[in-house]
């Protein structure tokens, strides 16, 4: 039997007012604008777009402001908003080889065609708090040097360089007309193929994937990875509207990409070679793409005839727990009233305790 309990309405309305006040903070401090979030909290915006699985900087900025900077909450807001929009179709696959590169590094080759372009990165900073940023007058408009020439128009992929020697597995589409799995339209099914896994990982929680990726490096997974190539830049998005019958470019998005190269001793079917793990995300989410690439590789255990011994290789474990909207929903639902459930548990425990006590007494006699 369900017993409806009412009376929370006024308390909830007032709670909304309290959260609005908390979000605003001290009114003497100027209110944050969406432009400020979008321009100065870019990496937060990028994470929200990636895990919210919707590329729209303005909406992500709004979600961050609304969620008071709680990115998991902001991701939830963006996912929820997304369900109100009609889908026009799917784009042509983006071509990261034609990326307008702003950062491109390889840990596998020092001298490689196109060179090492560091771009924007915290890697080479000292990780010391910079009090210049705390100064009242701010930082103004920092100036950047400009090279005489732009970055090479088309930079070969490191994996393609290895391909020439035949020492790395090739990535080709077996059947380019094949249906592409879509988690927004169909539930997860196991065994999950790579298209479904990559979609899941792309929108999966960065913290979860980071920990799993780390676990593979510490011995909970058998791979010895190299960051073959990491890229950041802009790619064109082409779409073929039904009414046109030919594709057109409809915009440009920033993506981060990581190609992980992993040692592989070989199997009955394959000679010793390098295998790959792939990471791709909206915006500048380098750490996420690296973790994703490690986990992608670990999840290929079945395909590569490796035994599945560790969490990162277990696709049900990884794919069912990677989504922070689901995870946060299920963890946080525990806050909802469970008054009746709890009463029945209480009765159960009381009767068990009574029996226990009686048995103790009998034993003592």
């Amino acid at each position: 039997m369900y017993v409806a309990v009412k009376g929370g309405e006024q308390a909830i309305l007032n709670s909304h007012k309290v959260i609005a006040e908390e979000r605003r903070g001290d009114p003497a401090v100027p209110e944050l604008t969406l432009a400020q979030v979008k321009e100065q909290m870019q990496l937060a915006v990028d994470r929200v777009m990636t895990e919210g699985s919707l590329y729209d900087r303005d909406l992500a900025a709004l979600a961050i402001k609304q969620a008071q900077g709680d990115l998991v909450e902001a991701i939830f807001l963006l996912r929820a908003y997304r369900t109100t929009l009609t889908r026009f179709g799917a784009t042509l696959p983006i071509d990261t080889a034609k990326m307008a590169v702003r950062r491109r590094i390889s840990a596998a080759y020092k001298d490689l065609p196109g060179g090492q372009v560091l771009g924007p990165s915290y890697d080479y900073t000292h990780r010391l708090l910079d009090f210049a940023l705390a100064a009242e007058e701010g930082v103004g408009a920092p100036q950047v040097d400009m090279a005489e020439e732009p970055v090479d128009e088309s930079i070969p992929r490191v994996t393609d360089i290895l391909n020439h020697e035949g020492l790395i597995e090739e990535e080709v589409a077996a059947d380019d007309e094949a249906r592409v799995a879509d988690l927004t339209r169909e539930p997860m099914e196991f065994p999950a193929e790579r298209d479904m896994r990559l979609q899941n990982l792309a929108r999966g929680d960065e913290g979860f994937l980071l920990a799993l990726g780390y676990s593979t490096q510490r011995g909970y997974g058998r791979n010895h990875p190299f960051a073959g190539e990491i890229r950041l830049g802009e790619v064109a998005v082409a779409f073929e509207p039904e009414e046109l019958g030919f594709p057109i470019e409809i915009g440009e998005i920033t993506v981060s990409e990581c190609q992980m190269i992993n040692q592989f001793a070989g199997s009955a079917e394959r000679p010793p070679q390098f295998t790959r793990g792939y990471g791709l995300a909206f915006g500048h989410c380098e750490r996420k793409t690296m973790a994703m690439a490690l986990v992608d590789r670990a999840l290929r255990a079945r395909e590569l005839d490796e035994t599945v011994d560790y969490p990162a290789q277990d696709e049900e474990f990884v794919l069912y727990h990677s989504d922070n909207v689901e995870a946060s929903g299920f963890v946080q639902h525990l806050k909802l009233p469970h008054y009746v459930d709890f009463q029945s548990e209480l009765q159960l425990i009381r009767s068990l305790r009574r029996r226990h006590d009686e048995e103790q007494m009998e034993a003592a006699e």
């Binding site: 889908r87 026009f88 179709g89 007309e177 094949a178 339209r185 009414e243 046109l244 019958g245």
Partner: protein, 222 residues
């Protein structure tokens, strides 16, 4: 690349389905406009469709001013524009399967047009007398009964046909429907359809600007 999953789980390649010729795009030269205010109009229409399904057998006036391509009635076009989109493969019967109607549905709904009734999430029937038997449409599967087809069946009238008494959820005691222009086998098929609940198709009868909902839960007498 333009692939769509159909209700019965098979895969339709839009590019082959659509290519009666080349991937020619849509001829927009004589295209009729769709809803003038798509968001609000389709919300209003959707409310009417819900009402029709919630009160089976009762005619609902869609009050739409839609200028539909021949041979579609305004109500027929309105139901299709409201319910169909990129994710819902649409089957069109042979009378309505004209270039203007195809263009209209592809342009305004973005639906893939499929050749076989069982591949469709929605079916547009303009010639009810010669429509395929109900069992030929997607019936849903036990895990996903929702993966069944919804039929939009345009009729010459909703009053002039033989009287049928309907019962079931949404009907207080009984409802009377006099749909005209249905094939002889229709109500027999409908009994079979209702018997396999939760599977089975749902139907909107349309005529002029009005519709009648016939969800799979409806039982027919007489």
């Amino acid at each position: 690349m333009a692939l769509t999953s159909t209700p019965n789980g098979t895969t339709v390649d839009k590019t082959t389905v659509l290519s009666s010729g080349a991937r020619a795009g849509i001829d927009t030269a004589d295209l009729k406009p769709g809803l003038a205010d798509p968001v609000h109009e389709s919300q209003t229409l959707f409310r009417h469709l819900l009402d029709a399904m919630a009160r089976p057998g009762r005619a609902v006036d869609l009050e739409t001013a839609l200028d539909a391509p021949t041979p579609l009635d305004p109500a027929t076009a309105a139901v299709v524009l409201t319910l169909c989109d990129y994710d819902t493969p649409l089957w069109i019967d042979w009378i309505a399967d004209t270039p203007p109607v195809r263009s209209y549905c592809r342009f305004h709904c973005g639906s893939a047009l499929v050749e076989r009734p069982d591949e469709a999430a929605f079916a547009l029937v303009s010639d009810a007398e010669n429509m395929p038997r109900l069992g030929l449409f997607a019936q849903g599967i036990d895990q996903y009964p929702d993966r069944s087809a919804t039929l939009v069946v345009q009729l010459p009238d909703l009053e002039g046909g033989p009287e049928r008494v309907l019962k079931g959820p949404g009907i207080a005691t009984q409802a009377v429907l006099r749909a005209g222009g249905l094939p002889d086998w229709f109500w027999n098929d409908w009994r079979l359809n209702a018997a396999q609940f939760p599977l089975g198709v749902d139907i909107f009868f349309t005529s002029g600007r009005r519709i009648v909902g016939l969800p799979r839960t409806v039982l027919v007498e007489g």
